[in-house]
Amino acid sequence: MSKNVIFIGAAVVLVIVIAGVYFFNLGSSDLSNAEPDYHLTATELYSEFSSNETRASDTYIDKVIDVTGTVLAKETLKDNIVNISLDSGNPFGSVICTFSGNPEDVLSNIEIGDSLTIRGICSGMLMDVLMNNCVLVKSR
């Protein structure tokens, strides 16, 4: 009798743990498998924000965007954060993509001048168009 109870108890706990992990990860921000809402070049994206920030904000903020461009700069901050700037064709601003997670992976793959596609969520614009939760889609 007691063995059955223990077994059932363990099974219940296991189900709860699995459900918990599932629901916790449901909110996970890994975009590797996400379907992008837009495909744009860095030049196009920056140009839309700089010409009409309100309209671009309505269109692109919180959306998953695949941005293609040339790497202008690469910056590793503390806390495992890497910022990659994509050339917007405009000297006053670029598209800055922030990667978290393991920066070494991102660093070893990316060099200034590389042409690549980055998937991220657009957060809006300050001096640059800012993207977060970024993952690398493909390198050319």
């Binding site: 909110g27 910022n83 800055i96 809006g124 614009m125 300050l126 977060n132």
Partner: protein
């Protein structure tokens, strides 16, 4: 035509000279921390834009609210949708200057305790603030740091009663900026 070309070529040069004393960043850090017995909440923003004018002591910050990263995505959603309403108020800004500024020499290493005064705009509300911080000049680089308190209620940020025991009335804000030449 020649005059136009000449002006276009010279203009960026004058721009560079005029701005010799301005330093900026596009990846400054601002984080905040809320502590209650029930829950600790932490968020980080590594996309802060800031300009420091070493000649005048003027200091400007621009922060995109949506760039605050939380550990729990649900918290991030609540933060944006319910608390700071980032769709209505996407940016927080600070415009101010170093109080009693006497000037700083970029060539001289030093650590300065400063008080920064100015207008902080958050959630559409602007308030005059005065906060302490340190500015460190080392090897031609400038770092600014500050830790201060913000009260959400000062900026009309409403915390629903249901979660009011999970979110502190006073939020600790940490600013850490490394500046480069413009």
């Amino acid at each position: 035509m020649k005059k136009i070309i000449l002006t276009v070529l010279i203009l960026p040069l004058t721009f560079m000279v005029l701005n010799a004393q301005k330093y900026m960043t596009r990846s400054g850090y601002i984080g905040f921390y809320s502590h209650t017995p029930v829950e600790d909440i932490k968020a980080d923003n590594n996309q802060v834009a800031s300009i420091l004018d070493l000649e005048s002591g003027e200091l400007v910050f621009q922060v995109l609210m949506r760039s605050f990263r939380f550990e729990k995505k649900l918290m991030e959603e609540h933060f944006n949708e319910n608390y700071v309403e980032s769709e209505k108020f996407p940016k927080a800004t600070f415009n101010g200057k170093i109080s009693g500024y006497q000037g700083m020499d970029i060539q001289k290493n030093g650590k300065y305790d400063v008080t920064v005064v100015g207008e902080l705009t958050l959630h559409g509300v602007s308030r005059e603030v005065s906060e302490k911080g340190t500015i460190t000049i080392n090897g031609g680089k400038i770092e600014a740091q500050s830790v201060f308190i913000i009260k959400p209620e000062d900026y009309n940020i409403e915390i629903p009663k249901i979660v009011s025991n999970k979110i502190a009335r006073e939020i600790e804000v940490t600013v850490k900026i490394s500046y480069d030449t413009m």
